[in-house]
């Protein structure tokens, strides 16, 4: 089965990711125009949104789905809550701890895509509501981060006393929440989900050659660009020390383990359990960093963005997907 695992993982899109990393590490000038990378990311959100919406329209939201969705939201709040104290052990800048915790509470859509296409190749089913989980897990993590940061700030203000006057102005909470809930990539996914649900199978069929047929090719290009970006960040990684690299690799495994326990306890199907693990184990490098940069300016984006993109993302793609699948297979007896 292991060679099967590997061959199901080593598809052209994933190989283009490795190619991108390699190409940048040897110092090539290969570049994907930014306008296209932006488009590819929106395209992918559209495609999975429609996929998920159609599946929802087809099967509705049963009790099983509701349990999964609630678990997803809860985990996206719990992960930051228990990650924060872990991060505080070593990080002096508590804002960094809050920001990183937030990214790990949220999810990576590309990891989800890779995992779900791997699952399909392994012949395992999953519910369309898993995509809804993906959507629901974005914002709570951001809200948690903002709350954590606010706590830090008021503590600091208390310690510093009257000196706090000289500090740079912060953005009002209303603006921050607005930003968190209207982030473009976030809405793109929700909108596509709703449109998929409204138009059902017929809508899906109309969009199929675009969102289905050419999907893997677009994904290949996007992953190539991600490979380039990952390598660029790896080269600049001096900020990220051993502790954080360790966190970026160990935390996903812990998170996936906790997710596995919950999934088993609540009686998820095997496919749903696997994707739930992936969601909980992955970290956001698109939507969340953009909002966190806005909301917690005191935190260094080189840290949280680099960790989510350049450490945890490749780890999940290469090691995580087969590992979590073995874990889930062992428990569900696959």
């Amino acid at each position: 089965m292991d060679t099967n695992l590997l061959s199901n993982l080593m598809t052209p899109p994933i190989l283009f990711f490795f190619f991108g990393v390699f190409v940048r590490l040897i110092g090539s000038n290969l570049e994907i125009p930014k306008a296209l990378t932006k488009f590819f990311s929106l395209f992918m959100l559209m495609a999975i949104g429609i996929e998920g919406g159609t599946a929802m329209a087809d099967s509705g939201l049963g009790q099983e789905a509701v349990v999964v969705l609630i678990s997803a939201v809860v985990m996206s709040m719990l992960v930051p809550l228990y990650s924060y104290p872990i991060l505080r052990i070593r990080l002096k800048n508590l804002y960094d701890a809050a920001a990183i915790a937030s990214c790990y509470g949220s999810v990576s859509a590309v990891t989800f895509i890779a995992a779900s296409s791997f699952l399909t190749k392994m012949g395992v089913d999953y519910g369309g509501y898993m995509i809804v989980s993906l959507v629901l897990m974005e914002s709570p993590a951001i809200v948690m981060a903002v709350l954590l940061a606010t706590t830090v700030r008021s503590k600091e203000a208390h310690n510093e006393g009257a000196q706090s006057e000289g500090r740079p102005p912060l953005l009002p909470m209303k603006k921050i929440l607005h930003e968190a809930f209207t982030d473009g990539t976030h809405l793109m996914l929700i909108g596509s989900l709703v449109i998929g649900a409204m138009t059902g199978m017929e809508g899906k069929k109309v969009m199929e050659p675009f969102t289905g047929g050419i999907f893997k090719g677009m994904l290949a290009f996007f992953l190539l660009d991600m490979g380039l970006s990952v390598a660029t960040r790896l080269r600049e990684m001096k900020d990220v020390g051993v502790f954080l690299v360790g966190f970026g690799v160990v935390m996903p495994v812990i998170n996936s383990g906790i997710a596995l326990g919950i999934a088993h306890m609540l009686g998820f199907g095997m496919g749903d359990a696997f994707l739930f693990m992936i969601l909980v184990a992955s970290a956001s490098y698109i939507a969340v960093p953009a909002v966190v940069r806005y909301a917690i300016p005191e935190a260094n984006p080189s840290l949280y963005f680099t960790m989510a993109l350049a450490i945890t993302f490749p780890f999940n793609i290469i090691v995580g997907i087969p590992l979590y699948f073995k874990m889930v297979s062992a428990v569900w007896g696959g």
Binding site: P168, D225, A290, R293, P297
Partner: protein
């Protein structure tokens, strides 16, 4: 320098892209008649390289400049300088 004979100053600001709306509202509040935006610039500064990745604006910069009288120029510059204590950016008058 100037369009109308009055002595005008050009204030140039490089700011991380996520904050461009804030800078625009600082300029608007200062009552300036206009500004020009250069949407996508990259760079290096105290906060390291900001050479952008395509799928997020977190490491992108935006440039904006405005022509205005000296007093307003200073007012804008001061407010933006406060902003860039927290966010990546640079102000040139």
């Amino acid at each position: 320098m100037g369009t109308d004979g009055i002595k005008m100053k050009k204030v140039e600001i490089v700011i991380e892209s996520v904050m461009i709306e804030e800078v625009i509202s600082i300029i608007d509040q200062a009552g300036v008649s206009g500004y020009t935006i250069l949407p996508s610039v990259t760079g290096r500064g105290h906060r390291g390289k900001r050479m952008g990745v395509g799928f997020t604006d977190v490491l992108n910069n935006t440039m904006i400049f405005t022509l205005t009288d000296e007093t307003t120029a200073l007012k804008i510059s001061n407010r933006v300088k406060k902003l860039i204590q927290n966010y990546a950016g640079v102000v040139i008058i």
